[in-house]
C-alpha cells in the first residue's frame, strides 16, 4: 500500500502526542480537583495564581472535571491512591465518604481556625464527631424578581401570587418536580426527610401537606408543572415570569439587560420557607501525598479572608467566612447579602449516608402528586417503602466454600467435556496446522481479553458480594435471589426485575421493528438509480447517526416538554390537546421510542441500501414481466434476498437497543415513577444513585448478559447457525 507523504510526517507527531502526557511532576505539588465553571472557576484560578506567586516552594496543580464525571472520577481514583490532595465538593458527601474512608478530617490553618466560619456551615460538615471539610461557600435557593415587572420582592407566597397574576405567562417558575427545590415548602410545612436516627420520615403530615401545596401551585397555573433549569431560565429571560426560585448558579444564566433583584424566599401561610443549604467545602482526600504545610497553605489561600473576598467578588459566591462577609467589597453586593441572609434561614442538607436513599423516592412522590396520579398519602407511603428498601441491610455473609467447590467441579467438568469432544480428532495436530490463524487473530484477542473480558469477569464476580462502606462481603447468590423474587416489591411494581424485563423486551422489540421498517422503507424509496436528489436525501437522512447522541437526546427531551416543547406546539397547530408526555407510561415510552427510532433508523437504512444494491435487478424485473404486483414482488423476491443481510444487523441491533442506556437516562429519566426504566438503567441506578450497591447492580448486569446470551443462542438456532454471527 502506498502512503501519502503527509501520513509519514504525521506519525512522529502522533508519537510525540503520546509521550507528551506522562512526565512525572518534579517539584512538590498539591493537587486540587473541582467541578467549577464560569465565574467561579475564574475566581478559583485567580486565587491559585496569587498563591503560586507568593509560595514558590511548591506548585499547585488544578484540575477542572465536568460535573457529570466528577463524582465517579473521585470514587474511582481516591480509593486507588490516585486522588487529589484536596477537592471541592458539597458537604452532603461527608457521611458516606468518611464511612468509606475516602476522606481525612479537615485541616484548619492557624490563621483561619474553625471559629472564622459561620456555625451552620461548620455544622453541616460535622459527622460522627469530626469536621470533614473547610467551608468555602454557602448555596441555597432564594427569590429572584424581574424589577421591570415587579419592582419589589413579595414577602409571602400569597402576596407573590396576587402580584404575579397577569404579569407574564405564569407568576412563578422553579423546578417544581425536584425534591431539592421543594425543600423550602417541605420545611415550611414541618416536614423533614430523615429522623434523628437517619431513618426515612416521608409519611409525616408535614411532607404530605407540602406535596399538596406544590400540587395546588401547579394545578392553579401558578407554576409550570413540568420545568427544568433551562425552561426556568428561558422564561425569566423572556420576561414571561416575574418571580423565580433559584440558586446562585442562576446568576450566570440571566441575560445582561435584565434588571433583577434577589430576596429571601417568601413565607407560606405565615411560616418561613427554609430551603436546603449546601455548603461547598474543601475536602482532604485520603491517600493524598502532599505535605501538611503545603496543603494548609492552599486551604488558607482559598478559604481564608483574602481568597474568600476574591471568590465573592469575582465568583459571586456567598461566603462562609464571617470576617470576609463584612469586607466592604462583599457587604456592598446586595445579591450576595440576600443569599447570605437566606443561608441563615436554610436547613443544611443532611450529610448522613442515608440521605442518598431519599432523593429518588421523594422526587417520585412529588411528581406523582403533581400530576395527580396519587394522593399525598399514597405517594408518601410508597416513597417511604422505596427508601426503606434502598436502605435495607446487606444480606448475611455466606460461606464461600460450597461455591468454590462448585466452581472447581464446573471447571473440571468443562475440561472433561472438551477432552471428550476432541478425543480422536487429533486436536494438537489441528491446532498446529492452524497456527497461522492464531497468529493473525492473536493481537485482537489479546487486547479483547485484557481490556474487555477481564474487566467483565471481575465486574461480574462482584455480583456475589454486597458492598457497603467500601467493604465487600461475600453473600453468594443472595443478590440474584433477591432480584429474581423481587424482594420487597410486588411483581408488577416498576422496581421489580420482572416488570423492568417486560418493559425492556417491549422496548427492544418496538425499536428494532421501527428501525428495520423505516430503514427498509427509506432504502426502497432511495434505491431507484434515476431518483432525483437521491444523494441529498441520503446524506441528510444519515445526520442523526453523526451527531453525538448525548446532545440530541437532550434536545428531544426539551421537544417533549408539556408547556413549551415543539411537539406539543405542532400538535396544537393541528388542533390536538397538549400531552404531558412524561406523565403516563405509554406517552413516556413513546417519547423514548421516538428519540431512539430517530437515532437508529439511519444505520438500518444504510445496511438495507447496501443489501439492495447487491440484489440483481433482473430477478424482480422478471417477476414484473410475469405480472407480479409490487407487493408480491417485494414479498417473494426482494425480501427473501435481503434476509441474509438484514438478520445479522437486526440481531446486533437488538443487542445494542437492549442496553441503550443514554436515551432512557436522558429523555424519560425513567418517568413516570421509574416505569420506563430498562434493565441497564436500573443497574446503573443501583450502582451509582442508591447507596452504591455495586453487588446488586452487578447481579442485574449479569442477568442482562444472560438474557442476551440466551436470545442470540435462540436466534442462531432459528436461523440455522446464524451465518455471519458465528
Amino acid at each position: 500500500m502506498v502512503y501519502h507523504p503527509g501520513v509519514r510526517r504525521l506519525v512522529p507527531l502522533l508519537i510525540l502526542g503520546f509521550l507528551g502526557c506522562s512526565t512525572p511532576p518534579a517539584a512538590p505539588t498539591v493537587t486540587l480537583w473541582h467541578a467549577y465553571r464560569g465565574e467561579e472557576r475564574v475566581a478559583l484560578d485567580e486565587v491559585i495564581e496569587r498563591l503560586r506567586a507568593t509560595e514558590p516552594g511548591f506548585d499547585v496543580e488544578v484540575l477542572a472535571v465536568p460535573s457529570k464525571a466528577y463524582r465517579s472520577r473521585l470514587m474511582s481514583a481516591v480509593p486507588r491512591g490516585n486522588g487529589p490532595d484536596l477537592f471541592i465538593q458539597a458537604h452532603e458527601v461527608a457521611g458516606e465518604w468518611s464511612n468509606s474512608k475516602m476522606l481525612r478530617p479537615a485541616l484548619f490553618p492557624a490563621t483561619t481556625g474553625p471559629d472564622a466560619f459561620a456555625e451552620p456551615a461548620l455544622d453541616a460538615l460535622r459527622f460522627r464527631g469530626e469536621t470533614w471539610g473547610v467551608p468555602l461557600a454557602v448555596k441555597s435557593l432564594a427569590l429572584f424578581h424581574n424589577k421591570a415587572m415587579a419592582p419589589t420582592a413579595p414577602t409571602s407566597m400569597e402576596e407573590l401570587i396576587a402580584a404575579g397574576r397577569g404579569l407574564g405567562k405564569v407568576p412563578l417558575a422553579y423546578e417544581v418536580g425536584e425534591f431539592y427545590h421543594h425543600a423550602g415548602l417541605l420545611h415550611a410545612f414541618g416536614g423533614r426527610p430523615l429522623d434523628e436516627d437517619g431513618r426515612p420520615e416521608l409519611t409525616s403530615q408535614g411532607v404530605q401537606d407540602s406535596l399538596a401545596y406544590a400540587a395546588m401551585l401547579a394545578g392553579d397555573g401558578i407554576v409550570p408543572g413540568e420545568s427544568d433549569g433551562a425552561l426556568v431560565a428561558t422564561l425569566f429571560n423572556q420576561g414571561e415570569v416575574p418571580f423565580v426560585f433559584n440558586g446562585p448558579w442562576f446568576l450566570g444564566e440571566i441575560r445582561a439587560d435584565i434588571e433583577y433583584g434577589v430576596a429571601p424566599l417568601p413565607t407560606v401561610q405565615g411560616k418561613a420557607m427554609k430551603p436546603f443549604l449546601t455548603v461547598e467545602a474543601l475536602f482532604r482526600a485520603n491517600h493524598g501525598t502532599a505535605a501538611d504545610a503545603h496543603v494548609l497553605a492552599v486551604v488558607e489561600a482559598l478559604a481564608g479572608r483574602e481568597g474568600s473576598v476574591t471568590r465573592a467578588v469575582t465568583g459571586r459566591q456567598a461566603l462562609a467566612h464571617l470576617d470576609a462577609q463584612r469586607d466592604p467589597a462583599v457587604a456592598g453586593d446586595a445579591v450576595l447579602a440576600a443569599f447570605s441572609a437566606q443561608a441563615l434561614q436554610a436547613v443544611p442538607m443532611p450529610n448522613r449516608p442515608e440521605m442518598g436513599a431519599i432523593w429518588e423516592p421523594a422526587s417520585a412522590a412529588l411528581r406523582n402528586v403533581l400530576r395527580g396520579a396519587k394522593t399525598p398519602a399514597e405517594a408518601t407511603a410508597e416513597a417511604q417503602r422505596m427508601a426503606e428498601s434502598f436502605l435495607k441491610p446487606p444480606p448475611d455473609p455466606a460461606n464461600p466454600a460450597p461455591y468454590l467447590l462448585l466452581l472447581g467441579f464446573l471447571t473440571l467438568a468443562g475440561a472433561a467435556s472438551i477432552v471428550q469432544k476432541t478425543r480422536g480428532t487429533n486436536l494438537l495436530a489441528r491446532m498446529k496446522a492452524g497456527r497461522d490463524g492464531y497468529a493473525y487473530a492473536a493481537p485482537a484477542f489479546v487486547g479483547m481479553i485484557s481490556v474487555v473480558f477481564l474487566p467483565f469477569v471481575v465486574g461480574a464476580a462482584v455480583s456475589l458480594f454486597a458492598h457497603k462502606d467500601a467493604e465487600f462481603t461475600f453473600v453468594g447468590l443472595k443478590n440474584f435471589w433477591s432480584i429474581l423474587t423481587s424482594e420487597g416489591y410486588g411483581f408488577t411494581d416498576p422496581k421489580s426485575f420482572w416488570f423492568t424485563l417486560v418493559v425492556t423486551v417491549g422496548w427492544t422489540f418496538a425499536n428494532v421493528a421501527l428501525h428495520a421498517g423505516l430503514g427498509l422503507g427509506l432504502a426502497l424509496l432511495l434505491r431507484d438509480p434515476w431518483m432525483k436528489l437521491k444523494g441529498v436525501y441520503r446524506v441528510l437522512l444519515i445526520v442523526p447517526w453523526a451527531v453525538p447522541n448525548y446532545i440530541t437526546a437532550l434536545i428531544w427531551r426539551g421537544m417533549f416538554n408539556e408547556q413549551f416543547g415543539a411537539i406539543n406546539g405542532l400538535l396544537e397547530l393541528v388542533g390536538v390537546d397538549r400531552v404531558a408526555w412524561f406523565s403516563s407510561f405509554a406517552t413516556s415510552f413513546a417519547a423514548n421510542l421516538t428519540t431512539n427510532t430517530w437515532l437508529g433508523f439511519p444505520f438500518m437504512m444504510v445496511v438495507t441500501l447496501g443489501a439492495l444494491s447487491a440484489i440483481p435487478r433482473d430477478l424482480e424485473e422478471a417477476a414484473e414481466v410475469d405480472g407480479a404486483g409490487a407487493w408480491l414482488r417485494f414479498r417473494h423476491v426482494t425480501l427473501p434476498l435481503l434476509k441474509p443481510a438484514l438478520l445479522p444487523a437486526i440481531i446486533l441491533g437488538s443487542v445494542w437497543t437492549f442496553n441503550m442506556f443514554n436515551i432512557i437516562y436522558l429523555v424519560s429519566t425513567g418517568e413516570p415513577n421509574g416505569s420506563t426504566e430498562i434493565l441497564i438503567s436500573e443497574a446503573y441506578k443501583w450502582a451509582f444513585e442508591r447507596q452504591s450497591q455495586y453487588g446488586y447492580a452487578s447481579a442485574y448486569a449479569v442477568l442482562v448478559f444472560g438474557i442476551l446470551w440466551l436470545y442470540t443462542r435462540g436466534t442462531a438456532r432459528l436461523t440455522g447457525g446464524g451465518g455471519a454471527l458465528g
Binding site: L10, G17, F18, C21, S22, A35, R37, L63, V65, P66, A69, S72, A77, G229, A233, L235, W249, L427, A433, G434, D436, G437, Y440, A441, P443, A444, F445, G447, P455, V458, G459, L522, L525, D528, G535, Y537, V539, V543, A546, V547, Y550, I551, T552, G558, A566, G569, W598, G610, I615, L642, A645, P648, L652, V655, F661, A683, F705, T712, A724, G726
Partner: protein
C-alpha cells in the same frame, strides 16, 4: 408496457412526485432536532427564546468565537485527533488481521472466537467501569493517551471484525490460490491482494473506530489527570453544570465535534453502503 416507457417514467419528476412527497417531510422531521442544536449555537448570550421555530432569529458567532479563542480548545482538539487517529489505525490493524484469520484459516476455536466477539456486545458497561479503571492503574496506562486508545480500539473491534469477515468471505479465493502457486506468502497475499480489494469495508471500519474514540467522554474524563490531556467531548461536557448548563457553548461545541464526523460520512458515503453489507448478501 414497453421498455422505453419504463425508463421515461423513472426519469421524470412526474413519476416520482409521490416519493418526494414522502421523503421531504421525513427529511425535515429528521433535521428538525439538529436545526435546534444549530439555533442554540447561533443564538447569542442568554437570549434563547421559546418557540417551535427552529430557524434562528438572531445570528451571532459569539459562542463559536469564545470556543475557538481558547488555547485549551486547540490543545484538546489535537488530543482528540491523536486519540481518534491512533484508535483508527490500531482498530483497523487488529480488526483486519483477526477478520482475515476467521475468514481464511481453519483452526480449533474459530467458531468460539467469533461467538466471543458477539458476546462482548452484550457486556453491560455499567459494571466494567471500575474494574477497567483498576486495570489501567495497575498497568500504568492511566493518564496516557495510549491507555485511552487501547480502550477505544478494543471497543470497536468486535463490530469491525464481524463486518470485515463478511466482506473478506466474498472475495474469490482463486486470486489467492494463484498467488500461492506463484510463491507468495500469506502476509503478502493479505496485504497485497485482500486488503486492496476490501477498501469499502476498511473505510467503514475506519469510520467506526474513529467515531468511538471521537465521541467518548466518561473514560477520558476519568483517566486523564490534566485538562491539557482531555479530549474535546470532555471539554464539551464541562459546559454542563450540576444545576445549570451553558447551552449556547454546549451546542456550538457539539457542532464543532460533529463536523469532522459528518464530513467523513459524506466522503465515505458510497463505501459505507457497500462495505456494511455487501459481504453478508453475496456470501
Amino acid at each position: 408496457m414497453s421498455r422505453n416507457e419504463h425508463v421515461d417514467r423513472r426519469a421524470t419528476w412526474a413519476g416520482q412526485w409521490w416519493k418526494h412527497a414522502l421523503l421531504v417531510p421525513l427529511t425535515l422531521a429528521t433535521l428538525y432536532p439538529v436545526l435546534w442544536v444549530v439555533k442554540m449555537a447561533l443564538t447569542p448570550g442568554e437570549s434563547f427564546e421559546l418557540s417551535a421555530n427552529p430557524i434562528p432569529t438572531e445570528i451571532s458567532f459569539e459562542n463559536f468565537a469564545t470556543l475557538l479563542g481558547q488555547e485549551l480548545f486547540w490543545r484538546q482538539l489535537w488530543n482528540s485527533i491523536v486519540v481518534a487517529a491512533t484508535t483508527t489505525v490500531v482498530g483497523i490493524t487488529l480488526s483486519c488481521t483477526a477478520a482475515y484469520a476467521f475468514s481464511r484459516f481453519s483452526f480449533p476455536g474459530r467458531q468460539a472466537g467469533m461467538s466471543a466477539l458477539l458476546i462482548t456486545q452484550m457486556f453491560p458497561g455499567v459494571i466494567m467501569a471500575i474494574p477497567l479503571y483498576i486495570l489501567m492503574d495497575v498497568t500504568g496506562l492511566l493518564n496516557s493517551l495510549m491507555g485511552l486508545t487501547l480502550c477505544y480500539s478494543t471497543t470497536a473491534i468486535p463490530f469491525c471484525v464481524w463486518m470485515l469477515k463478511g466482506y473478506f468471505d466474498t472475495i474469490p479465493k482463486d486470486l489467492e490460490e494463484a498467488a500461492v502457486l506463484d510463491g507468495a506468502s500469506r502476509w503478502t497475499i493479505f496485504t497485497k491482494i485482500v486488503l486492496p480489494l476490501s477498501k469499502p469495508a476498511i473505510a467503514v471500519t475506519a469510520l467506526f473506530s474513529f467515531m468511538t474514540a471521537w465521541n467518548e467522554f466518561i473514560l477520558a474524563a476519568t483517566f486523564m489527570s490534566k485538562e491539557s490531556a482531555f479530549t474535546l467531548p470532555v471539554a464539551l461536557q464541562a459546559f454542563v453544570g450540576d444545576r445549570s448548563t451553558d447551552w449556547g457553548l454546549f451546542a456550538a461545541g457539539a457542532i464543532l465535534v460533529s463536523v469532522p464526523v459528518m464530513a467523513l460520512f459524506f466522503a465515505l458515503q458510497k463505501q459505507l453502503v457497500e462495505g456494511l453489507t455487501a459481504g453478508s448478501v453475496k456470501g
